[in-house]
Amino acid sequence: MIKKFIIYFLIYYFPPIILHGLIILPPIISKLSMLEYVHNSNCGYIYHPNTIEEIFKYKLDTILDKDFDIIVIGSSRVNQFRKEMFSEDVDFFNLCHMGNGNENYLLLLKYIIQYQKPKVIILGIDQWLLNDNYPNGEKNDYNSNSIYKSDTYNYYKDYYNNLNYLNPGYDSINGINLIGSQAVTNLHGFRSDGSWFYGKRFYKIINRQKFIDEKNTILRINDGVLKFQFGENIKKTEIQALKEIIRICKNNNIELIGFFPPFPNSINLIMDNSGRYDYLKKSKILLHKLFKENEFNFYDYTRIDEFDDNYYIDGLHGNQNIYYSILDNLSLRSKDIDINKNFENGYYLNNSEKRILLKKFQNSTL
């Protein structure tokens, strides 16, 4: 009886388990070795696999592996802070794209202090987080959940796109390896310091006169939706989480610097004219007070007049010139922020670059 049963099992259950396992395991193993390679690599790389969980893992594991002097926490609006912007002896890591709110950042901070105590944490606080009316439950917010779901197809895609990623010269620009499907296809991803390289996106902004409103920022402001939901009051849960972040930093002798990331001037103008973002003024005052009470500093870089719209990737994200100038400003106020005075803060999209973008790409230091 039992032999018959085992034969039944071998015919009716075993083959798909084994065969499918054989197909699916190599991508998983490949993912693991990819991540291992990234962590052990001494040369530059751009890392962007198809699955967002891998990115989280990559960044969290980096925190586990190495101690840093300065860590940046925030959304995509802090992703232009780079290691090269600091002096050589400063160990820096950018934890951008790791959440969308102070509650997420609090969890991240708790994770960090389990393994290390950096001297400084720079916290980018997106303005809309403090709006009591945000999120407003638009379908885009619902969709955003789906990016956190990986699927098998993405595993295969990464696997086959990276079969040869270890071979020198393969999928690389100027010796810098492109690891992960997104990096290979779009030339964008995370640098070894955790910062973000926009890559192929520059193609799109080559002929622009001002920022490209890919995220429909102006439309959102006009309609008062999503990140630009109109609002009067401050969101208490965000403040609560922020207070906890401040408390933890204080107890661990970590200098916390908070800031509002910048918007393009035209966006600021539209928002000002609408007169329906009272929470912004209120939250600015409150954050100054909260940080001050704990001997920390908060800075409002919402408006940086010296950079016009050309310096913005889109309606939400400034380019590296702006972020270097923010760091420059911060270095005057904090002794632990030691910047690289020789950082080549080139304007990405000057005319010559526009003409020779491809060539420039090939020779980029990424």
Binding site: I2, Y13, P16, I17, P135, G137, N145
Partner: protein, 480 residues
């Protein structure tokens, strides 16, 4: 150890091979293997809590013998109370201690006496404690009421308490059903084994494909309910009703299927509850092992429905409140139980609680009658709305959720993607309903049909397991 983990896929065949090939000639060794593997299975999660299972086992083993041996009714009763108090004591300490303290502090606070919570402890809830304590308690109670003779075989008794397929999330087995099977020689039966495999596959499908696919949609809805429209909230609620059903019944199916592989039958826990025509029928089809436990050991001893109308109503309230409290130390569960009691009582007063005891809806044809459709919809809607209390973080949030439920019933197309999972389970459950849960997978006429079905389901399950490998895929009922 989770049923949907790689460890379990290695663990199960190993135990199976040892059980049927190495120890098949010796019943005691087979039971010892069940015991050791059950402790290993449980200890994989947290070995420290093995001592609780062991203690509960030892207490009820000796209590059972003492109750049986004693001639004096007072002594018997004393031993019975030892068992009840010990098991409930474990439950109260690990599950309800903080709840009682915090509720007391809240109560004082409401009268203006502010008190800092200094007495709460950081108590971890041992997985499955609500299940195995009820199982051991029923053993002592059955012996007290002379429904069962105690066993002197400690190993077999310990194997009964800790039998790994149903240790952490049921079904809650009765000693009178499971223990005799453990005490008698098992013979491997081909049909039973095949049925076991099919149930495991079906249970995995329900858990991994349906429940886990709905889980993040449900989380999203309940986490952001204050900013979502009524239509989205309503859909989220439907998703939750099927998530919890597929999660829990999926676990039960895997448990029953696994037990079958070892020649042991476990009683069914779900019988298509969402096809119930009234709330009484729902409770005869939902979490059967728990509701029958409370019926036999609480409702009937309290007098059941035989001592007048008011007393019956009181008993209904008691059974629903106690069983809701069994689910967890939170007022939301109690509110959920109360809601069900309020739904049940009109049914009881109208004398309809004994309707539809046998058979299932539409058992004479393919489709139900219009009246039955209406009854099913009404029952489903009322149980689903009650789920709001079960799933919400607090009672106030539950009421807020309910308040928003009927505002703006639009559902953005992006939010509808989960409906396919709900439809799949409705169609399959409907197709299987006549053969009963244990025979759900009818032997296909042609073998290649089964081959095709199995292969497809296995491939989908593997893919979904990988897809969800970073997300929490624990079974909901583990927390109880």
């Amino acid at each position: 150890m989770l049923f949907n983990s790689i460890e379990y896929f290695l663990f199960l065949p190993t135990v199976f091979i040892l059980y049927w090939f190495v120890f098949k000639k010796d019943l005691k060794l087979q039971n010892l293997l069940i015991l050791i593997s059950s402790y290993f299975f449980y200890g994989w999660w947290d070995w420290r809590f093995l001592s609780l299972i062991f203690l509960s086992t030892v207490v009820d083993y000796f209590v059972g013998l003492k109750i049986y041996d004693s001639q004096d009714n007072k002594v018997k009763k004393t031993y019975l109370w030892i068992s009840i108090l010990f098991n409930l004591g474990l439950l109260v300490f690990f599950k309800y201690f903080n709840f009682f303290i915090e509720s007391w502090i809240d109560l004082l606070g409401s009268f203006g006496y502010e008190q800092k919570s200094v007495w709460t402890l950081n108590v971890i809830l041992p997985v499955g404690i609500s299940f195995y304590t009820f199982q051991t308690m029923s053993y002592s109670i059955d012996i007290y009421f002379k429904k069962l003779k105690p066993t002197k075989d400690f190993i077999s008794f310990a194997a009964f308490v800790s039998f790994f397929p149903q240790l952490v999330a049921g079904p809650i087995e009765r000693a009178s059903h499971l223990l005799p099977q453990l005490l008698s020689k098992r013979v491997f039966k081909y049909d039973q084994g095949v049925q076991g495999l099919r149930l495991i596959l079906w249970g995995m499908f329900k858990k991994v494909v349906i429940a886990d696919s709905l889980a993040w949609r449900v989380d999203y809805t309940f986490d952001n309910f204050q900013t979502l429209d009524g239509g989205v909230l309503f859909l989220g609620l439907i998703y939750f009703s099927f998530q919890i059903y597929c999660d829990f019944s999926g676990y039960s199916d895997i448990a029953i299927g696994t037990a079958k592989l070892f020649g042991i039958e476990i009683k069914s826990n779900f019988r298509f509850p969402y096809f119930s025509r009234n709330i009484s029928e729902f409770w005869r089809r939902w979490h059967i092992s728990l509701s029958s436990w409370f019926r036999d050991y609480l409702y009937i001893p309290l007098g059941g429905s035989r001592r007048g109308r008011w007393r019956s109503i009181r008993n209904i309230f008691i059974i629903f409140i106690v069983s809701s409290f069994w689910h967890g130390a939170n007022w939301t569960f109690i509110m959920w139980g109360l809601t069900h009691a309020l739904l049940y009582i009109p049914n009881f007063l109208l004398g309809k609680n004994r309707q539809h005891v046998n058979g299932i809806v539409g058992d004479k044809g393919i489709f139900p009658s219009i009246k039955e459709v209406f009854q099913i919809m009404l029952t489903y809607l009322s149980t689903t709305i009650a789920w709001v209390f079960f799933r919400s973080d607090s009672i106030s949030n539950a009421f807020l959720y309910l308040g928003k439920l009927f505002s703006k019933l639009e559902i953005p197309s992006d939010n509808r993607s989960g409906i396919i999972y709900v439809l799949i389970i409705i169609v399959l459950d409907w197709a299987f309903r006549k053969n009963g849960r244990l025979n759900i997978i009818v032997l296909p006429k042609y073998r290649y049909v089964e081959l095709l079905i199995n292969y497809s389901i296995i491939i989908v399950i593997i893919n979904m397991l990988i897809q969800n490998y970073n997300n929490s895929t624990k079974f909901i009922y583990f927390q109880f």
